[in-house]
Symmetry: C2
């Protein structure tokens, strides 16, 4: 781990602040969903599934240009909050009428362009989404933009891989066990294009997914995945909210990463994940990461505190993931995030990405090396990040993005467009 007070000397340039950290990774992002609130979609009652209908309604209004405008702004906001890398999990591929874009990866290129404009690093995860439910249920009409033939997915992957560079990595993503059959996953993973890449999948977010998996496969989602595919350290499992004791043991013995998305999991009423059982006592190789998912909350500190607080609420005791103070949790989330993004180390191999904290921020007033992580996690808010180096370059100064005004103006246009349709 670079750039804690004790090893800031390893940074390529001297930090202005006494406290700096590796950049955080946002391990799970659906950037277009940021438009939901301003579009007035998904408000009020209902459940995960009725929210999904509203979200599909928005998704079907998204076009590449609008997506680029919206995404660049959201990514800049992530940078201001301390995320220097994002894993973008993207499943809008076809035009609303079901035809392929020209080129087929036009939407994904819009995201690459948005990341470049903002300066955030990106692990782009084009998502395979083929079925409307377990047992190869047909896609609903509002899901047809998501569909790709395997050959189409492979071509798209090859086109994206050609774009890779220091700030762009390409990974593999399967939407979920509902949407991709295991033999299809196995085929994708057999391609040379897939070799060595990070692999992300939504898993066990909602009880209904578990129930349907039991009906169709006579086992639970994590059981099914491990029985058929032997997930290793390349795999990031997103949510993992509803697990059996046996699944928890399987995961604890694995080198996968779990990406928790506390704000979205709360917003959607998914439930509190068994994070305590998964991470204490500390497992050998299992990784922990956080993601902003539906983009209501873009603060890694708020995600981390409510991850910990959710566990305290489950057990009626304190210090569950932060038993030795917050620093252990913070280091774990940094390391797991970089692994989810496809990097091999724990942040040490990313001296290009680091953040400097503001010693003037209310949350960090009079912080010491011993109390810093707790102050950051449990009181951190917008403004605790003073400067951000992304890709070795100073990008965020005094908490602001240099292109903030232009990016915001473009985001306004995108939001207006999405609301007007």
């Amino acid at each position: 781990m670079i750039a804690w007070p004790e090893d800031a000397a390893k940074l390529p340039s001297a930090p202005a602040s006494g406290f700096c950290l590796p950049g955080l990774v946002n391990a799970h992002s659906h950037v277009f969903q940021r438009a939901l609130l301003a579009a007035g979609a998904g408000r009020g009652g209902g459940d995960f599934w009725s929210w999904r209908e509203a979200m599909y309604g928005l998704a079907n209004r998204i076009e590449a240009e609008v997506l680029a405008d919206l995404a660049a702004w959201v990514y800049a906001e992530m940078l201001c909050n301390g995320y220097t890398w994002v894993c973008e999990f993207h499943y809008l591929h076809r035009r609303p009428d079901g035809s392929l874009d020209e080129p087929p990866e036009a939407m994904l290129r819009a995201l690459i362009e948005a990341a470049r404009r903002s300066g955030i690093g990106m692990t782009l995860l084009p998502v395979l989404y083929r079925h409307g439910g377990f047992g190869r249920r047909p896609l609903a009409p509002e899901q047809r933009r998501f569909f790709l033939e395997l050959a189409e997915y492979r071509e798209l992957l090859a086109a994206l891989i050609a774009e890779e560079g220091p700030r762009l990595r390409i990974g593999i993503a399967f939407h979920s066990l509902r949407a991709v059959e295991l033999d299809e996953m196995a085929e994708v993973l057999s391609w040379p294009e897939s070799e060595g890449r990070p692999i992300h999948i939504h898993i066990a977010e909602q009880p209904r997914e578990v129930e349907e998996c039991l009906v169709h496969h006579r086992c639970r989602p994590v059981e099914l995945l491990f029985a058929r595919l032997a997930p290793d350290r390349r795999w990031t499992l997103v949510h993992a909210t509803h697990l059996s004791a046996a699944e928890i043991e399987t995961l604890r013995a694995s080198a996968c990463t779990i990406a928790f998305c506390p704000s979205t999991e709360a917003d959607l009423g998914d439930g509190l994940p068994p994070a305590a059982e998964l991470f204490s006592p500390p497992p050998t190789a299992l990784g922990l990461a956080i993601g902003s998912d539906s983009e209501l909350v873009l603060s890694p500190w708020e995600e981390l505190r409510w991850l910990e607080w959710g566990q305290r609420l489950r057990f009626g005791r304190r210090g569950v993931l932060s038993a030795q103070g917050g620093e252990g949790l913070l280091r774990r989330a940094v390391a797991g995030g970089w692994r989810a993004a496809g990097f091999s180390g724990h942040g040490e191999d990313r001296p290009e990405d680091w953040i400097e904290l503001s010693e003037e921020a209310p949350a960090l007033l009079e912080a010491s090396p011993e109390t810093l992580a707790d102050q950051l996690i449990f009181s951190g808010e917008r403004g605790v990040v003073a400067r951000v180096f992304a890709g070795g370059k100073l990008l965020i100064r005094q908490g602001s993005h240099p292109e903030a005004a232009a990016l915001q103006a473009e985001a306004r246009r995108a939001l207006r467009f999405l609301r007007s349709r």
Copy 2:
């Protein structure tokens, strides 16, 4: 309710922003606890009760001057986040050696001075704290600063009442059913000094309190309170986390206010309160308020979203307190807050206190009257408040307090003093 877009015309001066709201009330504050994190106290594991030991250790290092310095800064931070009034629940009265200060209300005067310096309005709640547990258990040595004879409490109350004015109200507070006997409460409430004042009490925060109440009184805390004292609209019950179905029905039929403190209740592992059962379908007169309590989170938006999200996590569905969108929840919290502070109306009688939101804030980009409350509650972060009028005067401009630098310097000194001892 003043100052929503449709009735901004009622404000004494024209708002600069299209969106303004009544100021929010922070209905439960222990301002000195803000020092816990930087003092390195209360980190790591344990539970509510071990945290309380750490908190007592800090409390016993507090002196009036340090308290004033720390509090003025925390109150200024509350103002920047949209709280224009605070209910300060204060139980540090005696010197650490047990002797009375000179004057006896010196600590409370420090809080009054801090509120004046910051510009926040205050309902000051001097707390009666007489016993170490149910059945008149003796106070522990570390609780002796809290103790007051009834006659001492009455004198102190009279001294504070003489200070009342447009920005200062005095209320009554009983620490809890553990710390004050019911006949003592009845005596205090029989005094002319108590007439018409708001009355606050911690209740049913932890399972142990409920268990001990059952042992000593053969009934639960809310049952006990209602059986003996008939709480009316003057009463604010803080936390109300652990309630039976019968207690919920009793509260729903009452005109009390419940002050939820979601961030602190999560930090301390208290549990999620039965807010859904209390507030839906809407009760006739029961009020809802929010409080920052231990001061880790000073944002009303974060309290409100996690209040709602906590309920979604309990039930696995969305829109529990925000079934018709966030505006209902926001209006309810504004009205309940002002009632908890001792005002009769729902915010209409406070045109002196209002906040103007920043239309440039990321959370509020492209907000419409229909979506504003949802954007504010579910994405609001530091910076959404542009200007704050407190007591009819423009105090916060561009999200900053005019005395920010001086207040922060004094808070630094206070935090250093508390850490060094």
